[in-house]
């Protein structure tokens, strides 16, 4: 690891001004489970690391009237075991519970999983399906962007210099909806998604799908909404055939690469399999039979 300066501010303003003052190479540190290996391998060499875990806003994990607030520095294990998250947002609990190992989840954060901007981020597709919003703070104040707009390329986000994620806010889930996330990994645990799919279905009183969301991991430069798959589903009654078509659309929409973890063809195929499986899981959660 290259030498660097370390700061542990106690307020958001302090954190932002430290980051802004040190320029674009400075890095906020939350769980460190992605940042420290990159620094160890000297892939990045930040002159300043700002430990943001002491900033109270970033440690907030609470279900309030306007939805669920997940501070950027809350460890994944806290989120995965939080009673309100388990009850109201099982897709978030499940995807947070999939990342790495127990040890990784005790340090790694949702903020890090999002802002590290790797295509394989397990927690992001579920948040995208739920329409989650990211609250950012920077030198020119606070702003809110949709979680699905945060990542713009591998390792790249919309965050400007000195800007950092404060929290992710998720509205209360609509009535009659279910969401799930599945990923494929060669190992059962301690692994990274070859492909991941989250889907959300809201079904109205007539049994028609009023809202569908499908989001994909590890099959494009960023986590990706599969909008054509959503269109195929919306307004329809869920059938085996419809699920198959939506899954096929999702596979067609992804833009995977071939690398050591899997070929593009295999990833595309996995998207179809996982999309089908999550949609069926949602059906089951909604108590509907095919």
């Amino acid at each position: 690891m290259k030498a660097f300066e370390y700061a542990a501010p106690r307020t958001l303003n302090e954190a932002v001004s430290l980051l802004a003052g040190a320029g674009p190479a400075a890095r906020p540190l939350a769980g460190g489970t992605d940042l420290l290996p990159q620094m160890r391998y000297r892939r990045i060499q930040p002159p300043l690391v700002v430990d943001v875990k002491g900033v109270p806003e970033l440690r907030r994990l609470e279900y309030a009237g306007d939805g669920l607030h997940i501070g950027a520095a809350v460890p994944l294990s806290d989120i995965a075991s939080h009673p309100d998250v388990l009850r109201l947002y099982p897709v978030i609990a499940a995807s947070c519970g999939l990342v790495g190992s127990v040890q990784i989840r005790n340090r790694g954060t949702l903020g890090g999983n999002l802002c590290n901007a790797v295509p394989s981020a397990d927690t992001v597709p579920g948040l995208m399906c739920l329409g989650a919003r990211a609250v950012l703070a920077g030198p020119s104040g606070r702003r809110e962007v949709a979680v699905e707009e945060v990542c713009i390329g591998p390792g790249e986000t919309v965050l400007g210099t000195g800007e950092m994620l404060v929290e992710v806010v998720v509205s209360p889930p609509p009535q009659g909806s279910a969401a799930s996330y599945l990923r494929f990994t060669p190992r059962q645990e301690m692994d990274i998604a070859v492909a991941g799919v989250a889907s959300l279905l809201t079904v109205d009183g007539q049994g028609l799908i009023s809202r569908a969301r499908v989001a994909l991991a590890a099959v494009a430069p960023t986590p990706l909404r599969a909008r054509r798959a959503e269109e195929v589903l919306e307004g329809q009654r869920l059938t085996e055939e419809l699920i198959g078509r939506a899954a096929g659309e999702a596979a067609g929409e992804c833009r995977p690469i071939s690398d050591v973890r899997g070929s593009a063809d295999y990833r595309r195929h996995l998207v179809a399999v996982l999309a089908r499986r999550t949609l069926k899981a949602n059906m089951q959660a909604l108590g509907m039979a095919l």
Partner: protein, 750 residues
Amino acid sequence: MSAKFIGERLPRVDAPDRVTGRAVYAADIHLPGMLHGRVLRSPHAHARIKRIDFTKALALEGVKAVVTSADLPPMTGEPILVRGEIELNLNHIRQVALAQDKVLFHGQAVAAVAATDPHTAEDALELIEVDYEPLPAVLDAEEAMRQDAPLIHPDQYTHTHEGNLDRPSNIAATYTFGRGDVEEGFREADVVVEDTFRTRVVHQGYLEPSAAVAQVEPNGHITVWASTQGNFSLRGQLASVLEVPSSRIKVVPVEVGGGFGGKLNTLLELPAVLLSRKTGRPVKLVMSREEVLRATYPAPATVITVKAGATREGSLTAIYMRAVFDAGAFPIAPVVAAYFTGLAPYKVPHLKFEGCEVVTNKPKIGALRAPGAPQASFAVESQMDLLAEKLSIDPLELRRRNAAEEGDPPPVGRPFNRIGLQPLLEQVARHPAWTAPLKGTHRGRGLALAFWPGAIMPSSCHLTLQDDGSFSLVLGSVDLTGTRTVMLQVAAQELGMDPSQIRVSVGDTDSVGHTEVSGGSRITYTMSAAVHRACMNMLEQLRERAAAELEVDAGELEYEAGTFRSRTSPEKQLSLADLGRQSLRRGGPVTATGTTTRLQSAPAFAAHVVDVEVDPETGQVKVLKYTAFQDVGKAVNPTQVEGQIQGGAVQGLGWALMEGYQFSDSGVLQNATMLDYKTPTATDVPFIDAVIVEVPASDGPYGIRGVGEAPIVPPLPALANAIHQATGVRLRELPMSPEAVFMALQKARG
């Protein structure tokens, strides 16, 4: 004497230290004034080193020295070091440790830095300037064999049984063996199968990264603490390369965090000694995991073709095997082992083997648990199942009909002495692992056999009677797998003493006789013979002393549980405590040594049965149940025997399903982390049911056979056979990753 300690599940004597963090491994050593080193590694797979300039590195505050191969004496002695069954080419090993003129694989060590702390040493690496002239690299063994391939060693001429060929080649050596006439055998066959099987480079995956500490004193004496499988072998390698007498090097034992064959050759010790010599201070070098994966001694990639013929009744008539071993940057690969291990389980009248080892611009390969055998058995045992299928014979039955017995000729060497293959297969045939029906869809059961001859090589120990009648037993072998505990059991058995009265430790290279590496499943077999001899010798000496003290004839004394007693006048007795005390007044301290050099081989066979379920949509293979049968001769400590079998089986499962080096076109390892070089986690495997079969070996004490190697072998073909039964698809390439299985299924579906 009643068998009291042989066969007991004695807990490991070293376990309390390991479970509390007290056990000391090489990286835990801290010496006053110690410096920390880091190694600069090649960014090219093949390049000429034109210039190395480390002035800037030396100028960095805290940096104390930089060394390169220029700091080694030129190689003048004989480069081949023969250690029992192991042959080391020191000229190659020293170049892996520090490149000379050329780099031959990505990650090869080029220089090493010592500084006051490891971070400063790492900073200094960036300040070393190396000019490379990149050369064309060749990464695939079959491509390297072509006449127009870039030559890795322009002075390498293919070694054959008839002498060297006359044109330089990347083919380092060819081997041919056989008996009978395979063409005749194939004509006699009713069914003949022929296929080619491919395996990738895999790593031992020991948890402890390589580490070494060296201290060179002003008088030139060298002390080394190292993560090595052989303290004496390491000393010999260092002595030869550094051209100093062995007597001036002392290797001090430390605990070793796994080796599996990967810690036989010196790596970090050479630069550590050179750095210590230059600075006059102790120097510690510890590898990162990335360095371990890129630049140690992994196991070879292979291409093995097996053609096998059998009669309608299921008698094997002929087997032809062709094996290409990718040795990596320097030769010496277990080519012949592929032949004698893969085909050893079977009686086959006609055999032919053609093998070769080829150099490529990849890390030099080393040993990994049963070197050569897993790759060979992957091919042979897959073909046995294919034959069984074509002949409509049960796969176990086909193997039983052809299983080798005592007196049968193995592929090379003398006829088998007592072996337990047939009794082993009888056990399988009766066991629910094989007989219970496998219910459910997409499920399959696979069987495969393995053979390991067991290494021999010298072993030594020193036994001392203490002044209070207790004993100290010092072993020359590195304790990789519980040797101290097992030898405690042997000594307690033979001395008739409670284990609490015997302290067993591993000696440094100054304190005990030469003992070869802990490897090849040889230590329990050979060291127990050495300890047995030391105990016999000790008791003989004590009997003489007791006879003199008691003024009786030595033959009149009987010995039991620490006391010599006259048979005729039982009141005449003397305890070991008495003898210990008296030894300081009369006769002198009593010591005994035990050594072994040659024993007969104690061949071991294993048979594994695995049940799998395949997800046809993803290709994921779930291991449902795993049963490993092995003839261990005599299990001195059944718990440890089971542990060896279970660990070996899971290592094999990893090789079968998920492990494999992936190189870029320019020879850079793409999966140099434990995230992407995947070894099984606890969630990937079931309990491993180890079934111990005991057919005593012909030689050595108690009928012991070595255990450690064989269990890694059968998982590769057993999984392939199970996947075939579950899906109808036959995989001939490793790893059988989900993607590979899925793609094969896709192909089969058309």
